[in-house]
Symmetry: C2
Subunit: 389 residues, 2 copies
C-alpha cells in the first residue's frame, strides 16, 4: 500500500426534498451567486423555480448563466468568468450533471486566477484557489459533485482536457434521487457506465495489498449493477434504487476508492478523444472502450482481471484458467452494458474507424497514458481497433 | 434510505514515516500546542522525541500533558483545560489511541466553552465550537481520529459517557501503520474488536434499502477479519496487514458507514457499564457483549442476522433456516474473537455476574438504548445474563 493523503471537505446533503435547502446552505458562503445550468430540463422540470425561491428566501441574489451542453465548452466558461468578475459573485451554483458542475468549476478557478483559464487544462500551470462551488445534482454520473476534477472541451481543437485541483472540490452538494426519476434512459445508462468506469479505473492497479479499497470497489460495483437492473426493469421511479445509484456515483469519484494506490485512467484518456471528435456521451464511449482495454491487457496481471470477473460479475472463482475467467468477465460486462442500452462497439455508435490513427495520436498528446500498463500511440491504436471489431 | 448529511473534514495523512510531517501540518493551525499522551510507550518507543523534533523544526511550541489512561479520566481533562487556558494554546495534539484522542477532544471542547465540561457528557448541553485537534494514531481501534465522538470516564461515579459533536472532529490525523508493530497482542485484539463493533453497530439497522452502505460494511469487516488472522499468525510486522487494519479502523467510525440509516449502539451502551465498573478494555467488553446481543435478538429481523452470517462469516447462504444460519454466524464470531485472545463470556474476564442488576439499571440511565430493538432495563439484564452463561 502506498502512502496517501485523503481529505474530502464536500458537505453532502442527500435525500428527498433537499433541493429546498439550497438557499440556507448557499447563504453561508455568499450573498450573490452565479446560477449555472443547461436552461433545458432544469427549467422544464420546475427545479430552477424551486431553487430561485429557496435562494430568495435566504436573501441570496443570483445572476443566471444557462446553455451548458454535454462536453461543456470553453466559450461558455469564458462568458461565466466575465460575469463573475463584473457582478462580484461569490459562489458558483451548478444545477445539473457533470457538465454543469465541471463548467462551474472552470469558472470558479478562472475567475480568481490571472491569465487564460485554458492554461490550467493545457497543463501549463496549476491552481490552489478558486471560488466556492455548490451543486444540485440532477444526473448521477461524473461524481463531479465531490471530486477534484473538471473536464472542459475547447472548441478550437476540439480538445477535451481535464484538471484535478483540491481547490475546486465543491463546498456542498445537494443530492435528491427523486430529481433523477425523469432522466431519459440513455442518460441514466451513460451515468451508470461513467461511475462504474470511475471505480474500475481505480481498481485496475498493480499496487498489491490494498484489500480494503478493493473490497469497497467491488461492493460499490455490485451495488450499481444490481440497482441498474432494477431501474431498467421498470424501476425508473424506485427511490431506493435511484438513491443507491446516486450515492455510489459520488463515492466512485470522491477519492476514497483509490486510497493507497494510483489508478489507471487510460480508458478515460482514450475516451476523451472519442467524445471530442464524435461528441459522443462520455459514458457511452467508456462502455465501448473498457471491454477493449481489458482484452488488450489480457496477459497483463491476469489474476487481477480474473478477480474482477469473479467478485464483480460472479464468474466462478474456481475457473482453472485465469484468462478464461477474465474473458468471461468481459463478456458479462458487455452484456450488462448492452442490457442498459449502451454501445459496446464503434459501429453501435456510428464511430468511423477511419479516424483511429488520428485519435491514437491525440490520446498520447502528453505522453503515454495509463498506469496498469503504459499505453503509447501504437497500444492506443490497438485498443481502438479492438473496439471497432 | 433515510435522508442524510455527510461531511468529514479530517485530513488523513497515511503511511510510512508520516509522523515526521506533524510539525509542518500543525504549524498551519497553531504556534503553541498541548502535546497530550500517556507518557509510557509513546516515550519509550522514541515517538515523542521524533514528534518534538518535528514541532521544533516547524517553529511550534508545546506544553506537555501526560498520564492518559485507558478509559480516559475527567480529572486529567480538567487539568488540560486549565493548562490550555493559561498557556494560550491553539491546538491539542493527541499522540496515542482512542484514549489520548478522546481526552484531547474533551479538553478542546472544554477550553473554549464556559461551565463544566462534564455537562456536555451528561447531556445537559451541546457544543458547536472547540479548539482544533490533531492526532498521531498509535492504536487502531476507536476510530476517534476522524470521528465526532469522545468518551470520558468521570471517576466520581464512575460514569463512562460520550459526546458526538461535529466540532470535535480532528483537523488532521497522521497514521503510520509501522507505529503499531510493537502493540501488545491484547491491545491489537481489543482494537480489532472495537472497530468491528463500530461497523456492526451501524450494520444492524431496520432501515431497508441501504445496499451500498451494507456492501461497504461487509467488505470492511471481511478485510479486518482476514488481516487480523495474518497479524495473529506471526504477521506482527506485516506492513500491509497493519495498514489494512489501521485504515479500516478509521473508516469504521468516520460516519461513512451509516449514511442513509441510524445504527443500533445498544452493545456500546451496555459495554460502557461493563468497562466503567470493571475497568475492562472497551474492545474486550464488546467481544463479550456483541454475541450475546445477537442471541438475544435472534427472532428480531432474523434474515438480517443471517445475511450478516453469510456475507461476513461465510456461512452458507443457502441455509434453509435463517435462525440456524444466524446462530452459526455468532458461533464463528465467538471463535474468531477467541482466536485473537478476546474474552467472549463474563468468566473469561473475571466479571462478577452479581452486579448484572446494577449494570442493567445504569445502562438505561438516559432511557432505553439501541434502535434495532429497544433495550430497556429488563432486556439489558437478559443480555448481560447471556454474556454470563
Amino acid at each position: 500500500m502506498q502512502n496517501f493523503e485523503y481529505c474530502n471537505k464536500t458537505k453532502i446533503i442527500f435525500g428527498k426534498g433537499t433541493e429546498n435547502q439550497v438557499g440556507s446552505e448557499t447563504a453561508k458562503y455568499a450573498k450573490k451567486v452565479l446560477l449555472h445550468h443547461s436552461g433545458g430540463s432544469t427549467v422544464r422540470s420546475g427545479l430552477i423555480d424551486r431553487v430561485k425561491e429557496s435562494l430568495k428566501g435566504a436573501g441570496v441574489e443570483w445572476v443566471e448563466l444557462t446553455g451548458v451542453l454535454p462536453n461543456p465548452r470553453l466559450s461558455l466558461v469564458y462568458k461565466g468568468i466575465e460575469i463573475v468578475r463584473k457582478e462580484k459573485i461569490e459562489l458558483i451554483l451548478a444545477v445539473g450533471g457533470g457538465s454543469a458542475i465541471d463548467s462551474s468549476k472552470a469558472i470558479a478557478v478562472g475567475a480568481v486566477n490571472d491569465g487564460d483559464v485554458w492554461e490550467f487544462y493545457d497543463r501549463k500551470k496549476s491552481a490552489d484557489k478558486a471560488l466556492p462551488v455548490g451543486t444540485i445534482v440532477t444526473i448521477p454520473a461524473a461524481g463531479s459533485e465531490s471530486s477534484i476534477s473538471s473536464v472542459i472541451t475547447n472548441e478550437a481543437g476540439p480538445w477535451k482536457r481535464g484538471i484535478n485541483f483540491q481547490c475546486i472540490r465543491p463546498a456542498f452538494s445537494i443530492m435528491n434521487p427523486e430529481l433523477t426519476y425523469t432522466l431519459p434512459p440513455y442518460q441514466t445508462a451513460c451515468g451508470i457506465t461513467d461511475m462504474m468506469a470511475h471505480i474500475m479505473e481505480r481498481y485496475f492497479t498493480k499496487e498489491p495489498n490494498v484489500e480494503l479499497t478493493d473490497e469497497l470497489c467491488e461492493g460499490a460495483l455490485r451495488t450499481i449493477i444490481r440497482n441498474a437492473r432494477k431501474i431498467f426493469s421498470g424501476g425508473e421511479r424506485d427511490y431506493a434504487a435511484r438513491a443507491e445509484i446516486m450515492w455510489a456515483g459520488a463515492l466512485a469519484h470522491n477519492g476514497l476508492l483509490d486510497t493507497g494506490r494510483i489508478g489507471d485512467w487510460a480508458s478515460h484518456a482514450l475516451d476523451h478523444e472519442l467524445s471530442a471528435l464524435f461528441d459522443l456521451a462520455h459514458g457511452a464511449g467508456l462502455a465501448i472502450l473498457f471491454p477493449a482495454w481489458i482484452k488488450y491487457n489480457i496477459k497483463e496481471n491476469t489474476p487481477r482481471l480474473a478477480r474482477f470477473a469473479a467478485k464483480v460479475w460472479g464468474v466462478d472463482g474456481a475457473f482453472y484458467d485465469y484468462e478464461q475467467a477474465a474473458l468471461e468477465g468481459v463478456f458479462r460486462m458487455e452484456n450488462f452494458f448492452r442490457s442498459i442500452g449502451m454501445p459496446v462497439r464503434f459501429k453501435d455508435a456510428n464511430i468511423d474507424p477511419a479516424r483511429i490513427g488520428e485519435m491514437a495520436k491525440r490520446a498520447v498528446h502528453f505522453g503515454p497514458v495509463g498506469n496498469y500498463r503504459k499505453i503509447d500511440e501504437q497500444a492506443a491504436e490497438a485498443i481502438y481497433r479492438l473496439a471497432a471489431e
